[in-house]
Each structure stands twice: as structure tokens, then as C-alpha cells.
């Protein structure tokens, strides 16, 4: 066969028959605002975007295939490398699916610890997003304001499980270690610090007229489109789609906690910005409910050394900082999954970008990518 795959790819990427006045430009894989190795092939007419084609695969590590060779304890660890800003939530999703398969009941303390860590992860992730949104729209200073609080949260992570980003803290049956003695104190401190500084977030970026002009009415995504593209997380909720997994399919005891699902009907970048900011407040509320009421007891249920899931199919969904993560496992009764599939939020969210950016300017595309909040390793896996 002379027609190699490489030739097919190049032929698809390089198009020469463009109408007069149009040209193609490659945004990425190395570009300051694609936050990783995302490659967008953009067809432009002057500054106006005619068409966008995302090109994937630059950071494909075949995580799903690797999972088939790893045991049920090991495969959790590589999921930290998918959406590295929600690493703990990814780990929890995998731990939950294994527990579901084993029919394991985990201690209340472990559940509370998982929720606390998950909400701290969400806060850290949204803070990074807030800083990067400012950076993408040309304001450099918000980044440093965001990192002031994020650094504290990451330090708590390091104190609790030894890792700052890729925590690997959830294991089948609970969490790996008990909480650090200073955990409660430091969490209370950071919560107070965030509450004190939250007005700066709203004033520095959200209150700026240029920022509002850049985001209001930009990158509109209708409710119907959000559903048909399979969007989830803050992005879908900004278009009015109620899709919070913590509300619809509660896990780890989210049903016992009082928090709101933030919905906005705007569907534009400004709505997405507001939804995420309000979600940070809800995360703070969840942490405040739990931090004084962490149940006593074991942090891990007793499990066998070698885990074997019964024959069958298992699925678990969780709400990461970017949307719904689904873990689907087909087991043949062995010590590792027969098939493993991740339904990652970023992949679906990315698919809506060409529709949202059509007709906009290059500056709009940057604003859209910033508010969709993509993490590229989660798209390619």
C-alpha cells in the first residue's frame, strides 16, 4: 500500500484550494494561549474566523490501552495524568468504579476526606483558570493574585498526600493515608483568606469594562447546542443545562450536603466566567460544612491484596472541575480491566469551540478557549 497514513494526514491538513482573500493559519501545537499542545487549524478572512478544525493526537499516550495491562490498584495512578488539574477527582472516579464492582462499602471518614480534597482541587483548578483567563485576555496581574491562594491549597495537598498536582490519594476502599494533623487548621485558614480576597477577584478582572466588553455576547452557545455537543460542567451550566453530577447522581455522600447548582442562561463567555466564580463560592460552602464534621473512624476499608472484579460492566461518573468524567470498565473477572474507556469532559467541550467561534475575531477565539478551560492531556489521553 503506497498511500501511507502520514500522507493521508498531510493531505487532510494542508488544503490549497482556498477562496480569494482567505488564508489558513495554524494556532498551535506551540502557542501561548492553547495551554498545551492543542492544534487549531483556522481559516481566516482578514481577522474573521470562517472555520476551525481542531487537530488532536499530539499528547496521546494511550492511557486507556495501558489500563488493560495494569491492576485495579495501579490504573488509578495514570488517570492523574489525564486532567492534571482535577487529578484527585479522576482518581476518585476510578476508585469508585472499582468499589462498585467489588460491592465495597467505604468508611464515612474516607468519603468526607475525598469530598474535602475534591472541592479543594476544584478551587485550585478554578483559580488557575481565573488567572489564565486574565492572562489570555492580556491582563497579566490576575495570574499572580490567583496563584497567591492556589499555592496555599497546593501546599495543603502536598502536606496531605505528598504530591502537589498528581495526588494519587484515592485508592479502592478509601484514601491512602489519614489526614495530616494540621489539615483542618490550614484549610480553615485558606478558606478565610479566600473569603477576604474574593472581592479582589471580582474587582480586578470581572469589574473591568474592557474585560466585560471582551466577554459579553462572545462565543454564544445555545442550550440545544450545548446538549447536542455533549458539553458538561460549568460550560454547559452557563448555557442553562442542569448537569451537575453531584446533584443528579450523587456519590461519596454529596446528597447530604447543602449546595447549589449554579445555572446561567447567558451562554456567552461572561456567563461561563460568572458560573465558575460562583462555583468557587459553593465549593467553599461545601468545605465549611464538612471541615468541622469529619467523622471519626477508619480512612480505608479492609480490602484484599489482589483485587478481582466480577465479570460484567461497570460505570461511574463524577463531576470534575471541567465537567462530567465517566469511567467505563468491562471486566472478564481478571485482575485488570478487559476494556477501559474514559468519557472525558474536555473532549466534548472542545467539539463546541468551532461552532462558538465561527464569525468571531481571533481575539474572540482566545476568549472562548480561555472560558472553556481546556486541559489538553484530557482530550487526547
Amino acid at each position: 500500500m503506497n498511500y501511507s497514513i502520514m500522507e493521508a494526514i498531510t493531505e487532510k491538513i494542508i488544503t490549497t484550494d482556498l477562496p480569494e482573500g482567505q488564508f489558513e493559519i495554524n494556532m498551535g501545537p506551540q502557542h501561548p494561549s492553547t495551554h498545551g499542545v492543542l492544534h487549531l487549524k483556522i481559516r481566516l478572512e482578514g481577522e474573521k474566523i470562517i472555520h476551525i478544525e481542531p487537530v488532536l493526537g499530539y499528547i496521546h499516550r494511550s492511557i486507556e490501552k495501558m489500563c488493560e495491562k495494569l491492576s485495579y490498584r495501579q490504573f488509578i495512578l495514570i488517570t492523574s495524568r489525564m486532567d492534571y488539574l482535577s487529578a484527585h477527582i479522576n482518581n476518585t472516579a476510578c476508585a469508585l468504579v472499582v468499589e462498585k464492582g467489588l460491592g465495597l462499602e467505604i468508611p464515612e471518614r474516607a468519603k468526607a476526606i475525598r469530598i474535602l480534597m475534591a472541592e479543594l482541587t476544584r478551587l485550585a483548578s478554578h483559580q488557575l483558570w481565573w488567572g489564565c483567563t486574565g492572562l489570555d485576555l492580556g491582563a497579566v496581574s490576575p495570574f499572580f493574585f490567583a496563584f497567591r491562594e492556589r499555592e496555599e491549597i497546593i501546599t495543603i495537598m502536598e502536606e496531605t498526600c505528598g504530591a502537589r498536582l498528581t495526588q494519587n490519594y484515592s485508592v479502592p476502599g478509601g484514601v491512602m493515608y489519614d489526614l495530616h494533623p494540621t489539615f483542618v487548621g490550614s484549610v480553615k485558614k485558606i478558606i478565610q483568606q479566600m473569603k477576604n480576597n474574593f472581592h479582589e477577584y471580582e474587582e480586578l478582572l470581572g469589574g473591568n469594562i474592557i474585560f466585560q466588553e471582551r466577554t459579553k455576547g462572545v462565543g454564544y452557545l445555545s442550550k440545544a447546542d450545548a446538549i447536542s455537543f455533549g458539553c458538561s460542567g460549568p460550560m454547559a451550566r452557563a448555557s442553562g443545562v442542569s448537569c451537575d453530577v453531584r446533584k443528579w447522581f450523587p456519590y461519596d455522600g454529596y446528597e447530604k450536603l447543602a449546595f447549589e447548582e449554579i445555572l446561567d442562561e447567558g451562554g456567552d463567555c461572561w456567563a461561563r466566567y460568572n458560573v465558575r466564580l460562583k462555583e468557587m463560592k459553593q465549593s467553599i460552602a461545601i468545605i465549611e460544612q464538612l471541615i468541622d464534621n469529619i467523622p471519626e473512624g477508619d480512612f480505608q476499608a479492609k480490602t484484599k491484596n489482589v483485587l478481582k472484579l466480577p465479570k460484567g460492566e461497570f460505570y461511574q461518573r463524577v463531576e470534575t472541575a471541567r465537567g462530567e468524567l465517566g469511567v467505563y470498565i468491562v471486566s472478564e473477572g481478571g485482575t485488570s480491566p478487559y476494556r477501559c474507556k474514559f468519557r472525558s469532559p474536555n473532549f466534548s467541550n472542545l467539539s463546541a469551540i468551532p461552532e462558538m467561534a465561527k464569525g468571531g475575531k481571533i481575539g474572540d477565539l482566545v476568549a472562548i478557549m480561555a472560558t472553556v478551560d481546556l486541559v489538553i492531556p484530557d482530550i487526547d489521553r
Binding site: F23, I25, H31, P32, S33, E47, G134, L135, D136, L137, G138, A139, V140, S141, F143, F144, F145, R148, L204, L205, N208, I210, F211, E213, R214, K361, I362, G363, D364, V366
Partner: protein, 365 residues
């Protein structure tokens, strides 16, 4: 005491140097050539030191606005960091892309730097201290500084890079548009003072700065001048030509080493020039702050050297422009043009009418 301060403030430095040289050399071409060389070398040295200082200042201002220290390792308080960076840029390979138009590619940075250096000529740094006392100073500065766009267009076009080209096109649209507002806000003060000569404009502010004397129209002209000149020198929030997050680096994407440093140099010189022009035209240049009939106060103010007044005012405005950069997000290209054509330009035009009326009726102080 007064003579000592005057010497520091360069007031008589130029004339004493001139009289010293005319004793040594016969009058004519030789004297003129020597004086021009001295002036040129002094200007170059001044500009390099100025750019080092502005680069250092910008990093420190940015650092303190972002809750960090800024450079603090090389030299005392990090002051040598910028020198180290310049040495690094000097040693880098000045890469020229294969498909670039080599002649234009090398010409671009030259035009940009040359135009910004030319624009510095009519500035009055202190009393009686000026490189070129030209009768049409304001007109000269605004026409020379509009030439810089040619350098940017040449650089963006010759790079053979679509991002560069987009940056250059943006920059063309932007600079040509904002030129109008810059010009009109300067015209307001030209009408007030009745002269295009920068020295005459400074002299006309001996009893108060135009910012205060000219009522509201002068204030409006000042604000418009600051906004429009920030856009004209391609600084944030109007840095669309190099918009890092959109066009990677805009028109200078393909430049490296000293050719890139040229653009940086030009950016800082331009920053200094627009601030100096604003200080000269609106804030009285080297003229001390005089308040009405407060004899004692005015006398004390006179003791401060005129060069200190000039540089103090200029750096005050430079700080404000830096403050913009580290606070505001960037505008989109259509919003940028809307701001100019729908808001700044009509306001400037109405403002000019108001200024004319005030001048005719002698309502200003």
C-alpha cells in the same frame, strides 16, 4: 547656591561647552561637526541608559503590582539584570528566516529605531537645553512619530509569517487611526499657546500649566492624549500588534537577538517621548509649579532645577502608562477602532471648538 543648581540642571552647560569649543576651534564646518558628534554621542548614551532604566523600572513596577519583588539578584537591587539581558541579546544569533525578504527584514528595525530617535530632537530637557530649537516642534514630533508604522509594516510583511503579517496589519490600522486623536489633542494646546514651538509652549506656562489654565477642554485633551498615545506606541491595553496570546509576538515574531532588541529599544524611547511631550505640552515641561500670587512658594519652587521638573513630570506619566499595562486586559481590534472613531475623535473635534472659543474670548487664565 543658585549657580550650582543651575549647573546641575544643564541650563548653562550647553552654552559654556559651546564657548569653550569656539575658543579651541575656528568657527565654521569643523566646530559644527565636533558639536554635532558630541551631541550625537551624548544622545545615544543617554538613550541607552534611559532604556536600561525604563526596562528596570517596568519590571519593578510590574513586580510590585503583582505582589513579587521583580529583579533582585544581579547587581544592587537587581539593577544590573537588564544589562545582563542586553548582553545575552547581543550574543544571540540574529536569525533571518530563509523565505524572508532579507533587505526589508533588516531594514524594519532600523526604521523603527531611527524614527523614534529623530523624534527626540526638539524636546526641551531643561531651560535653554534643547537639541534643536525648531519653530514647528509639535508638528515635527507628530509627523516623525507617524513614520514608525512604516517600519512595523515592513517588518511584518518581510518576515514571511502570517502571524507577523496580521500583527503588522493591525498595527497599521491602529497607529493611523490614533494619530488623529494625538494630533487633535496637541492642536488644542497649540491654539491656547498660539505657537508650534515647544519652547514657546513651555514659556507660555510660566504662570500655570495648561492642564489647569485651560479649564475642562485642556483636561479632556490631556486624557485623550494619554489614551491615544498609549495606543500609538503599541502598549497594553492597546498592544494588539504584538498581542502575545493571540499572535504569539505579532510583527516581531521572527526577530531574534539585537534586531529584536531594536524593537524593544524603540518601544522604550517612544514611551519616553510621548510622556515627555505630554509633560511639555500639558504640564509645563521644565517650568516649575507656580501658583498665582504665592511669592514665597513660587520662589522655593524655582530653586528646584528645571531638569528635575522635566524628568519628574515625564516619569510620573511613564508610571501611569506602565500602570495601565499591568492592570488592563487587551481590547479587541474592532473595539479598538470603535473607541477611536466613535468616541475619541468626535470628542476631540468638539473639544477643539471649545478650545477655540475659550481662546477667542480670553476665558483662560
Amino acid at each position: 547656591m543658585k549657580t550650582l543648581l543651575s549647573t546641575i540642571s544643564f541650563e548653562n552647560l550647553a552654552s559654556s561647552l559651546d564657548s569653550y569649543l569656539s575658543k579651541l576651534l575656528p568657527a565654521g564646518i569643523a566646530l559644527l561637526a565636533v558639536e554635532m558628534i558630541i551631541a550625537g554621542v551624548c544622545l545615544l548614551a543617554f538613550l541607552v541608559v534611559l532604556c536600561f532604566f525604563l526596562g528596570y523600572l517596568e519590571r519593578k513596577v510590574a513586580g510590585h503590582m503583582q505582589m513579587r519583588h521583580g529583579p533582585n539578584r544581579v547587581g544592587p537591587a537587581g539593577s544590573m539584570q537588564i544589562v545582563a539581558d542586553t548582553v545575552k541579546l547581543l550574543m544571540k544569533e540574529g536569525l533571518t528566516p530563509n523565505s524572508a525578504d532579507k533587505f526589508l527584514f533588516n531594514l524594519g528595525p532600523m526604521i523603527v529605531v531611527a524614527t523614534s530617535m529623530m523624534a527626540i530632537a526638539p524636546l526641551a530637557f531643561a531651560k535653554n537645553f534643547q537639541l534643536w530649537n525648531i519653530s514647528i516642534g509639535v508638528l515635527y514630533v507628530s509627523s516623525i512619530s507617524s513614520l514608525a508604522v512604516i517600519g512595523i509594516l515592513v517588518a511584518g510583511w518581510s518576515s514571511y509569517n502570517k502571524y507577523s503579517l496580521l500583527g503588522a496589519m493591525r498595527s497599521g490600522a491602529q497607529i493611523v487611526s490614533y494619530e488623529l486623536s494625538v494630533g487633535l489633542s496637541l492642536v488644542a494646546i497649540v491654539i491656547f499657546s498660539g505657537s508650534l514651538n515647544l519652547n514657546d509652549i513651555v514659556e507660555s506656562q510660566s504662570n500655570g500649566w495648561w492642564l489647569f489654565k485651560g479649564h475642562l477642554p485642556a483636561l479632556i485633551a490631556f486624557v485623550i492624549f494619554i489614551i491615544a498615545s498609549t495606543a500609538e506606541i503599541n502598549r497594553a491595553p492597546f498592544d494588539l500588534a504584538e498581542a502575545e496570546q493571540e499572535l504569539t509576538a505579532g510583527f516581531h515574531t521572527e526577530y531574534a537577538g539585537m534586531k529584536f532588541a531594536m524593537f524593544l529599544l524603540a518601544e522604550y524611547i517612544n514611551l519616553f517621548i510621548v510622556s515627555a511631550i505630554a509633560a511639555t505640552v500639558f504640564l509645563g515641561g521644565w517650568m516649575p509649579l507656580h501658583l498665582g500670587n504665592w511669592e514665597v512658594f513660587n520662589h522655593i519652587m524655582d530653586f528646584i532645577p528645571s531638569s528635575l521638573w522635566f524628568f519628574g513630570k515625564t516619569f510620573g506619566i511613564i508610571f501611569v502608562i506602565m500602570w495601565f499595562r499591568w492592570t488592563f486586559p487587551r481590547l479587541r481590534i474592532d473595539q479598538l477602532l470603535n473607541l477611536e472613531w466613535k468616541y475619541l475623535l468626535p470628542i476631540s473635534m468638539v473639544n477643539i471648538i471649545a478650545v477655540t472659543l475659550i481662546t477667542i474670548m480670553h476665558w483662560h487664565f
